[in-house]
């Protein structure tokens, strides 16, 4: 198959570029890239746009296959991909959600400023590392029976709150209140439940982390006030998902769909896009299992937040106050949402793989406090660079099916990063710059070094220029906990 080149892309308004439906005869809709020209040069360098063209062939896909400016090559879908399919007859594809179902980000705000904690940063990073299990093959401190796993899969973050991990108020500040009602634990395999029995409260490895940041700059003071953000304020960012339970749900269902696809006459250019009609038995079973895994992920982040609070109290006592949840949002998920297509409101199945839901002001899913501001969108950078808090706008509904970018996006392979980065030197350099790293291995530090990622400022500037989100605050890391 021919590789997509920059010459195949036509510029559109609002920082979009289009690969026309004529590029390949099996495309059902065009493929659109949200990007600046410099970022596009990087994106065309790997196979992400060919993967996007493959997404444009999915049965029932609506309007366009989309990719955000933090795009990079994945498997099946590109990372940063968004695809909306017809409801209920269009397909659902586990590859459009990813193995880490409901991987997402949570931001908590403190009442302390950087000056209050600067002298205690090393102790805080060590305490967070001690309280929050992380790393390869590590289980957590909570061991669940199969019945308890079922309860977590049904109840999501509510399960944690009912057992003292946080407060009921937290649930208002989690996407979908931390619980998808369509979850059905009976659709989750015993293997998945076994894999999830000791994973609650753990961040895992790879690009997952817990990070202490401070608010370095505010861009929109009114929205920042609504979000409870102020300059120099210390905040904590958590990035992880449904851990091994979600990985197994995806594996089980991709395998099942591979066998089922011929029944529905579906042929695809890439097996990893395996999909079935949403309203088929296999489609419904996967959707209900995916919802259950999403609930597990929200419960996981709720418990990690409690562990972070415990570390915070151990360091600062009563003077540290409570960490308040600003928002918790997914970036690997499929949701049934309504958008205007061809002049009429229609339900669609929005797949987001490495893309964040981004609702504008007034959306009924948002808590009262954010009704005027729009949904908080949390964009982690990398250790040593910035992260961002954005706010959703109504423009995203028409342009990106209510979606935005999810991070900086990788530019180097892990192998290349390890070759380029001397991890002990990097750790020391970051320490000199005021960033304390606690990690399970030097390998993990090298793989996740800032040089491995694109420039997050460029990514955020594109989404702001496109009008799908507003810049609210820039965060700077001061302590990073990784597996």
């Amino acid at each position: 198959m021919k590789k997509v080149q920059k010459s195949h892309l036509t510029p559109l308004p609002h920082s979009f570029w289009e690969i026309p439906v004529t590029f390949r005869e099996d495309m059902r809709v065009p493929a659109r890239v949200l990007s600046s020209e410099p970022l596009l040069d990087a994106i065309v360098g790997d196979r992400s746009l060919n993967q996007l063209v493959n997404v444009a062939t999915l049965p029932g896909i609506q309007k366009a296959a989309l990719v955000m400016p933090d795009a990079h090559e994945g498997y099946g879908f590109p990372i940063g991909g968004v695809a909306a399919t017809e409801y209920p007859g269009g397909v659902i594809s586990p590859g459009g959600i990813g193995y880490d179902i409901n991987c997402g980000v949570r931001l908590m705000v403190s009442t302390l400023a950087l000056k209050d904690i600067r002298e205690h940063l090393e102790a805080l990073s060590k305490e967070l590392y001690a309280q929050i299990p992380s790393g390869m093959g590590k289980g957590g401190n909570i061991r669940l029976s199969v019945e308890e796993v079922d309860a977590v899969l049904r109840e999501g973050a509510e399960w944690a709150v009912a057992r003292g991990y946080g407060t009921r108020e937290d649930l208002d500040y989690i996407e979908s209140h931390g619980k998808l009602a369509d979850a059905d634990p009976a659709k989750v395999s015993e293997n998945a439940k076994k894999r999830g029995s000791d994973q609650l409260g753990t961040i895992g490895s790879g690009n997952h982390f817990v990070e202490v940041d401070y608010v370095e700059r505010l861009f929109d003071r009114e929205i920042a006030r609504a979000f409870g953000l102020s300059e120099q304020q210390v905040v904590i960012l958590i990035h992880t998902g449904s851990r091994r339970l979600g990985h197994q749900v995806a594996t089980d269902n991709i395998r099942r769909m591979m066998t089922a696809m011929p029944t529905y006459g579906i042929k695809l250019p890439d097996r990893e896009l395996a999909c079935v009609p949403f309203d088929s038995v296999e489609g419904q079973d996967y959707y209900k299992a995916m919802c259950a895994a999403a609930n597990y992920a929200w419960c996981n982040r709720q418990i990690i937040a409690w562990e972070a609070q415990k570390a915070w109290e151990n360091c600062f006592g009563d003077a540290g106050g409570k960490l308040q949840l600003l928002y918790d949002v997914a970036h690997n998920m499929a949701k049934i949402e309504t958008y205007v297509l061809e002049g009429e409101a229609r339900k669609v199945i929005v797949h987001r793989k490495g893309a964040t839901r981004a609702f504008g002001p007034g959306h009924p899913e948002l808590p009262d406090r954010y009704q005027a501001a729009g949904q908080p969108i949390l964009i982690p950078g990398s250790m040593g660079t910035h992260s961002y808090v954005l706010a959703g706008t109504e423009n995203s509904y028409d342009r990106t099916f209510g979606s935005c970018c999810h991070g900086a996006g990788r530019r180097l392979s892990r192998t290349a990063a390890k070759k380029q980065v001397n991890a002990p030197v990097l750790k020391e350099k970051l320490r000199e710059e005021g960033v304390f790293i606690e990690a399970g291995s030097y390998k993990g530090i090298a793989e996740e070094a800032p040089v491995a990622y694109k420039d997050v400022e460029m990514v955020v500037d594109v989404v702001a220029a496109s009008g799908i989100a507003k810049k609210v605050a820039r965060l700077r890391p001061v302590a990073v906990i990784k597996g």
Partner: protein, 137 residues
Amino acid sequence: MKIEYLPHTADVVMRVEAPSQAALFEGALRGMAGLLKEGFCEGTDALPRECHFALTAPDTTCLLIDFLSEVLTRTYTEKAVFCKAVFNSLSEDRMDVHVYGQEAGGLDEEIKAVTYHGAHISRNKGNHWVTSIIFDI
């Protein structure tokens, strides 16, 4: 048998080459074990953990990916790394296999999943069986 690990933007690509289907499957198993815990299977004779399972798949490539996925699942549920496979039967689209391994303690790499993306078993000029496999890590 030849196993290579190649760079990929977010994940790991493993290329395996072997003189027969069974050798390819066992090579892929050992390659995955090496990724989970480097050198774990080298010079190891005692493999006290055993699992038995049977699989069917639409084709040989899917059978290989499903085989590795099944072993990966058991790696986590049994808390062991598996190094050896003994096939009771192995055809283009089905297998009956015993895999052997041992407890590993911590892992060097956490593999989320074995993907079908880009995997395709073919024969090279030397009539060896070859494929690449992308692991989501």
